[in-house]
Symmetry: C2
Subunit: 365 residues, 2 copies
């Protein structure tokens, strides 16, 4: 390993950040790296990956292709990811050749909903009640145990509502498990929350920590529709959310940006719903409302640079542009605010095509 690739030295301007995954998050990471004079090298199996359009180099390859991964790793000074379903083994393989963040351990833990929730509880944080489900029979029985108000999810590989079911009977719970093709699953108590929120935070290689103000999030059909900061969170809840993120970051010895999705209950308390070991859709407003965006913050963290100030200089509302909504790009372009389009060819239903952020004067820091 060359001196530049040792764990201690930061990646200097001109160096290369490797990114596993080539979607819009990889694209925005590459744009942020470019601002700092760093090159991006994208690894993705889709030859039309949106991130390729803005990167100095790219490799079309599968995550299982160890030779291609090794060649990619050797061309980079540090490697990170934009997609939490990169196999942890692939990250471990890369990490044998070049520094890679987040670690395979942190990634592996957050890839399994059951392991993740056990971890969250083990560090004294609260999650919805949950249990592992390994058979249709268990699904049926636990659905009853959970008072018939529960959500069934596969332990692995779900996002934007994929691999999730909301049964209304024991039979439906059993059928849902079968529909998951008997994949190891988890049942979670249905939470009658007041609203949803998230906190985006970063931990540097040196252990420094920085958290953005947590937005309130609105989902529609399991897809994020809108993030508003400060939203309905009280200053106390905002601080609580940041402390939750800090505790998770330290326990995972995490490096990089990550998000914690939260349920805010009617009594004001916060439950941890999910950890995303990457930059997060609910943090896109940081591009305009903060001096250092979540994307630049992640690049800084994994490259060993000092973390930037996460302070907000404005209130912000971000809304996603989903599927056919992108056809209205001209009307978005006429609105006051910041339009982002991701360079995706086809506006399929449910596909995140872009986002739009509106700023307004800071109401509270």
């Amino acid at each position: 390993m060359s001196a530049a690739k040792s764990l201690g030295a930061p990646v200097p301007p001109g160096g290369t950040i490797g990114i596993l995954g080539g979607g819009q998050l990889g694209r925005m990471l590459a744009l942020a790296a470019a601002r700092l004079g760093l090159k991006a090298h994208i690894y993705c199996d889709d030859p039309r990956a949106p991130a390729f359009q803005v990167s100095a180099a790219h490799t079309v390859g599968k995550f299982a292709d160890q030779a291609a991964l090794a060649a990619f790793a050797r061309a980079c000074d540090v490697v990170t990811l934009e997609f939490e379903n990169v196999p942890a083994e692939s990250v471990a393989h890369v990490a044998g050749l070049v520094p890679a963040y987040p670690s395979a351990r942190a990634l592996g833990l957050t890839q399994d909903r059951f392991d993740e929730k056990c971890f969250v509880q083990s560090i004294g944080l609260t999650t919805p009640r949950f249990a592992a489900v390994d058979s249709a029979q268990e699904a049926r029985a636990l659905f009853e145990t959970f008072g018939r108000r529960a959500v069934l999810k596969t332990r692995r590989l779900g996002y934007d509502g994929k691999g999730q079911a909301k049964p209304t009977s024991g039979d439906e719970a059993a059928a849902a498990f079968a529909a998951f093709q008997n994949a190891p699953s988890i049942i979670e108590a249905f939470i009658d929350f007041d609203f949803e929120a998230s906190v985006i935070a970063a931990r540097g290689r040196d252990g420094s920590f920085a958290a953005y103000d947590p937005p309130e999030n609105v989902h529609e059909q399991h897809i994020l529709r809108r993030s508003v900061v400060p939203g309905r969170l009280t200053p106390r809840q905002s601080d609580d959310a940041k402390q939750i993120a800090r505790r998770i970051a330290v326990a995972l010895n995490y490096v990089g940006v990550f998000a914690v999705e939260l349920f805010v209950l009617r009594d004001g308390s916060l439950l941890v719903n999910e950890i995303a070991p990457r930059v997060h859709n609910s943090g896109h407003w940081t591009i305009e409302a903060c001096a250092v965006s979540q994307f630049e913050q992640h690049v800084r963290a994994v490259a060993g640079w000092p973390l930037g100030d996460p302070a907000r200089h404005a209130d912000a509302a971000m809304e996603n542009i989903i599927g056919e909504e992108a056809n209205a790009w001209e009307s978005y372009a006429r609105r006051a605010g910041a339009l982002h389009l991701y360079g995706k060819g086809e506006a399929r239903p449910g596909r995140k095509m872009g986002h739009f952020t509106q700023l307004s004067p800071l109401t509270r820091a």
Copy 2:
């Protein structure tokens, strides 16, 4: 010419903006195009051009290579430039194949200091006193006529102080002309200004106009050191500067972003120093202080999109990072504000390597 390449239709997301020139301005234009889901194709003769690192496509070619230029033009939906010394004939050649902005006429006019000043006076604006110089004898004589307080410049191809002399005697004026290898030149009265300023403005394909608040600029050794907005300009001077820009844009039937460099005299009046037919170093603060930066504004203008709102949401101070100063990148990264590095390999003296922008609360709109 295909429908998409006709003058009327805007370039839709997924389309390609061609950029002649691959320096930091081309790089920041490419980054801005990417935000809007547009691809950038850079044309530059330097195989290590900084803009290549962030662009979907690039061509290494000389501006004189008509075949390469034609192939480039055919691959683009619209072509623009980042560098005012692109030969006007090259732009005219490209414009025969695909819409190109600014026009070869506007470009040609601003490439000649004498023609430019004649134009500025012809539309009723004020410049420093000037005269064409075509011999060493004329240089000597006019230096005396101008009261021995005058600057000698080549009419064409100067930037950052190159091709300029400040003689202290008639002999020196004659020698300076000889040192310019007898290139057609211009003599300008030395202006004892209060301070320097500039105005960055845009005109859309539809004739719409938008001007940013003009910054006060400080130069050192003919290179921009610092731009501050609002600086010392009064609201009246700020409005005057925008009106100057509007008059120039309309007279040139200009499309795109341009800058007008101004001298602010002690009596409060404004003199036009120079027109730059491109995005401008003194407008870099718009990346952070405005919803739509000068780079995105230029992309919008040439792509036929609606112009964005140029309103500032903060005061701003931008300083250039020049030559060896870039070695201190870690200390810049620690400061509160936005660091931009341009991906240039070698920190040669006088070379613009990056810039740093600090925001502060808006003192006046």
